[in-house]
Symmetry: C2
Subunit: 374 residues, 2 copies
């Protein structure tokens, strides 16, 4: 673990680089806008904590009206539960018997839900609950077009029946279409969400045909939440990235009815080397994820043209010229391409109040579930 990045009350220029910085004003606007949207559309809000990995932020979301949070991994749930989050949905399958014993134990401590998509997964979960106690809410995941996890909608009834027959509590359907979130056109995403709703209805029919009630459908992301909230089937939104935004989401055409979210997450970097043609900042692959493109530079005519594990190479972009290159030691604010895996690289958030021009450090929040892989 490295030394401290900043002290409370410090001005921006004293934050050591590279650092993961939250613009609190922007984040709180985003947080509030989504809470209002969910309330006004009468859907539950369960933001995805796989994105921010922070108990402090999860608490702020819950204080604003969220019913709890989602995570993807058991160990994330355990850490957030230890930090006081009392309602968590592991929106993902767990198949390992030793882990399922921990799932059952955790379900004895907090309100816990988990997704299943196999007979084996249900059987092992039931055995663990029998052995340890604990009664998690069980969501059957259906594949609504992503081609990843989940059973087919037609098979949902049989699996729900198996859940119930093993003495577990069937809580509804997990229906997330990851592939729809970044479709550029709003109409394309709307069509994808309509297709999700059709598949969900098919699954619901299969479940009611099995004589089982389907209490809730949970799903949706930052790209499709507007359409999911009005689809008539989705009762709970799992949005994550709205809180920070990233270049990937900024690049899609917003839905007309969507709140406007602003970038609230940045990597503060510093020019450490400078030539006549380019500058090098002290933030590379280990400070930001590049799976969805290189970071962009905030407020300057600069473009990242290459990177290394610990370096980012910037050149003038657009109408910029070499004369505009920042000086040695100057700060460069990077906007990550993809927030989730960028956050997962850092141990601490430096939360800044008052914007990125004249703000001060208001809080240092640990990235509590960073590295929680199991």
């Amino acid at each position: 673990m490295q030394r401290s990045l900043a002290r409370l009350g410090d001005p921006l220029d004293t934050i050591a680089t590279p650092a993961l910085v939250i613009d609190l004003d922007a984040m709180e606007c985003n947080l509030g806008a989504m809470a209002v949207f969910a309330r006004s559309h009468n859907v539950r809000l369960r933001p995805h904590a796989k994105m921010h990995k922070s108990a402090a932020i999860a608490k702020a979301q819950i204080a604003a009206g969220a019913v709890g949070v989602c995570v993807q991994k058991l160990s994330e749930a355990e850490v957030l539960a230890d930090a006081g989050i009392a309602d968590i949905f592991i929106s993902n399958e767990v198949i390992d018997a030793a882990k399922l014993t921990r799932v059952a134990a955790l379900a004895g401590r907090i309100t816990l839900a988990i997704a299943v998509d196999s007979i084996l997964g249900v059987d092992r979960l039931a055995e663990a609950c029998k052995a340890v106690g604990g009664a998690p809410n069980v969501f059957v995941e259906i594949d609504v077009g992503q081609g990843r996890c989940g059973v087919s909608p037609a098979a949902a009834g049989a699996l729900a029946h198996h859940v119930v027959s093993r003495g577990l509590r069937f809580a509804g359907l997990q229906a997330y279409q990851g592939g729809a979130q970044h479709l550029r056109g709003a109409a394309e995403r709307e069509a994808a969400a309509r297709s999700v709703a059709t598949l969900v209805r098919e699954a619901q029919k299969s479940i009611t045909s099995a004589g089982i009630a389907c209490p809730l459908v949970t799903g949706g992301g930052t790209g499709t939440f507007v359409f999911e909230a009005t689809s008539g089937v989705c009762g709970e939104l799992q949005v994550g990235s709205y809180l920070f935004m990233d270049c990937e989401y900024a690049d899609i055409e917003p839905a007309e009815q969507a709140p406007r979210f602003e970038h609230a997450l940045f990597v503060k970097s510093q020019v450490m080397s400078r030539s006549a043609s380019h500058v090098v900042v002290d933030a590379g692959l280990k400070a930001y994820a590049i799976d969805s493109g290189l970071p962009r530079v905030r407020g300057r005519e600069l473009e990242m043209v290459n990177y290394g594990d610990e370096h980012g190479i910037l050149k003038p972009s657009g109408s910029g010229s070499a004369a505009d290159l920042p000086l040695l030691g100057e700060t460069v604010w990077l906007v990550p391409g993809h927030c989730d895996p960028t956050v997962n690289l850092h141990d601490v958030y430096v939360a800044v109040r008052g914007g990125l021009e004249r703000g001060v450090v208001e809080a240092l929040w640990p990235v509590d579930t960073r590295g929680c892989l199991i």
Copy 2:
């Protein structure tokens, strides 16, 4: 921080997934082969700890003959120094005055070296050393073709002169050509290394013309070390990836005279979902880096065709068929595309003795400098 991954003495199948696993037998062969190579070629070996980020591994390298290690970041040096590593080269520029004060302080505790490529960097380092004490070895970095950091070879003499004039100890040249490491053909890499040597000679001439001795040239990587070791100018090798290997390095044509290194680093994953056409393992972007391609699957006719933050989607490859897909709960061993940023995602190494078929857990090593970005 998540719960424990494994216990000492445990068999492989009890290691929780996803986990970063070292095949110790393979790693020790690689470690020994490079030590023998360096000794027999009469060059110093200073492996790059930016790759493994582990004090335990650094100590094993030093025990086998390395003079010390390299790092890229001040905080890496501080953490490794605290763990008992007494000779460290920060093979990178540091420009921030507060950090340079820490560099100077650290140089009072251990044998420390650092790279410079600017007047400002030298001036700030000199001021810090004057204020705090501490006398680091200072290497002038030259750009030997990568187009990243470093002054031109012709400018090396002037900067070396400035180092000396500010009362600092000039130790030689940092000459690393990152762009040459992954050129596919051995002849291409040999040509690139020859070009490095030509530029180094030009820089040496510029330095001796300034009346200054150039004690050492340090550089080279896993792709070029054979050629650098025999270039006649390079006195110290900074190889890193040889220890673990990854797909990126396995794909280059090995130099004739190079030892054969084996994959020693794996991500253990588990099938968590299965359909007729594919399986999903529980390891995604947060468990391996994808900047140099998706991980490959060890010992099976499977190919990763897509990924998510927490998922990897595998389909049959080559002559494999859907009938060969692994079962729910089965282990799948992934070989990372790029070891450095993969290691940086994990908190712990699970070090296994006896191979990946019947081995047992021999050690759990923290990834000490994981997240040491500043």
